[in-house]
Amino acid sequence: MNIKYLFALLLSLYCISASAQPSTQSEAKAAIHGASNLWAQAKSAGHEWSTIKPLIAQAKKALEAKEYATAVHLAEQASAHSQQALIQAEHEKINWVNSLPK
């Protein structure tokens, strides 16, 4: 095998293994903290989704169980739901009138 190809293959394997490194405790904590902030914003906008609280609770459980990657994944999901809830709140401030009977 050409040495260049071998080198490229090893480099790719290194990159993959580096990116698949397990999340740390601090990353999980930061993800949960971020998710909790967005959740509070969705609440105060009056458009809290019922899916958010259980996701954050599950993320906290995963953190306690030292399953950091799972905790990050769940917290990111909770953040995504909160962001969508905030978009919905903003959208409905104006667009609720589109549902009025004509």
Binding site: K43, G46, H47, E48, W49, S50, T51, K53, H81, Q84, Q88, H91, E92, W96, V97, S99, L100, P101, K102
Partner: protein, 277 residues
């Protein structure tokens, strides 16, 4: 061409402003007309029977069940509770006009001084507190039984909510209206999506009831609940169904929503309590 476009934009803007800033009376006209035009064979008062006004098969089963209504015991308990004096010797009758009989049709009402909507259930609890009793939980139990009895004494009386006047009442009405038409929850549904736009159509196996007539028959005995529940309990269930976090019973949001939906059903007869799936 440019002039034509400008005129078109101006006309569209006027139409938009008109719909949003319509008076409550105009809203009610449009709202009721929407249902009577969509369901021309249904009399206005029959809308108080919900899906049973639209689905003959379901109506026959419901009428058969109504020979021995499942809420009968709760209604009797409600009457007993209503007539049982408080520890101080006073009664519920002392807190209401006409001694609490035949008044359901006048609730909710807007209290200008307190700047809030007063629902019947709120007035029941305020009566209890005034007489040294504790407040009852708002969604089910004794409050639903008391409210059911009071609704029963109003059977046939037409809903008679005063048109919101004044800045504060109009703000509460407008907030209720906006709640009704705003999409919420992960499923992105508004009350109007199901009960106005898609009324009479099916969501899975269930027919969606028209919003016109909703407040006439509460509290209801839902077979799903296996007991009586207030209108705010139903709001809570709807919010949960679209995966939104529900508000508390008698929260400002739900009181305003009740104010709006009840005013939309003005002129329909009270026929509560009732049973529903």
């Amino acid at each position: 061409m440019k002039n034509f476009l400008n005129i078109l934009i101006i006309c569209a803007s006027f139409a938009f402003i008109n719909t949003v800033s319509a008076t409550p009376e105009q809203d009610k006209e449009t709202f009721q007309k929407f249902y009577t035009e969509r369901f021309p064979n249904i009399s206005k008062e029959d809308f108080g029977n919900g899906v049973y006004a639209l689905d003959q098969d379901a109506r026959e089963q419901w009428e058969a069940m109504s020979d021995f209504p499942p809420y009968e015991d709760s209604l009797e308990e409600g009457e007993e509770l209503f007539n049982t004096p408080f520890k101080n010797g006073e009664s519920y009758a002392s807190c209401f006009k006409n001694e609490g009989e035949n008044i359901r049709q006048n609730y909710p009402k807007f209290d200008e001084e307190r700047n809030t909507v007063i629902t019947l259930e709120l007035a029941i609890n305020e009566c209890r507190i005034k007489n040294g009793e504790t407040a009852l939980p708002y969604l089910k139990g004794d409050i639903a039984k008391l409210s059911a009895y009071m609704a029963y004494t109003s059977e046939g009386s037409l809903i008679n909510i005063k048109a919101p006047k004044g800045e504060k009442a109009l703000a509460a009405y407008q907030a209720g209206k906006q709640y009704y038409y705003s999409k919420r929850g992960q499923l992105n549904f508004s009350c109007a999506n199901c009960h106005t736009e898609k009324a009479g159509r099916k969501a899975r196996s269930e027919m969606l009831s028209p919003a016109l007539g909703h407040p006439t028959h509460f509290p209801v005995y839902r077979l799903k609940w296996a007991n009586l529940g207030t209108l705010h309990r139903r709001f809570t269930a709807c919010d949960k169904q679209v995966r939104a976090v529900p508000h508390a019973g008698q929260s400002e949001s739900y009181k305003n929503l009740e104010y709006f939906v009840t005013y939309m059903s003005n002129g329909l007869p009270i026929n509560g309590p009732a049973s529903r799936k």
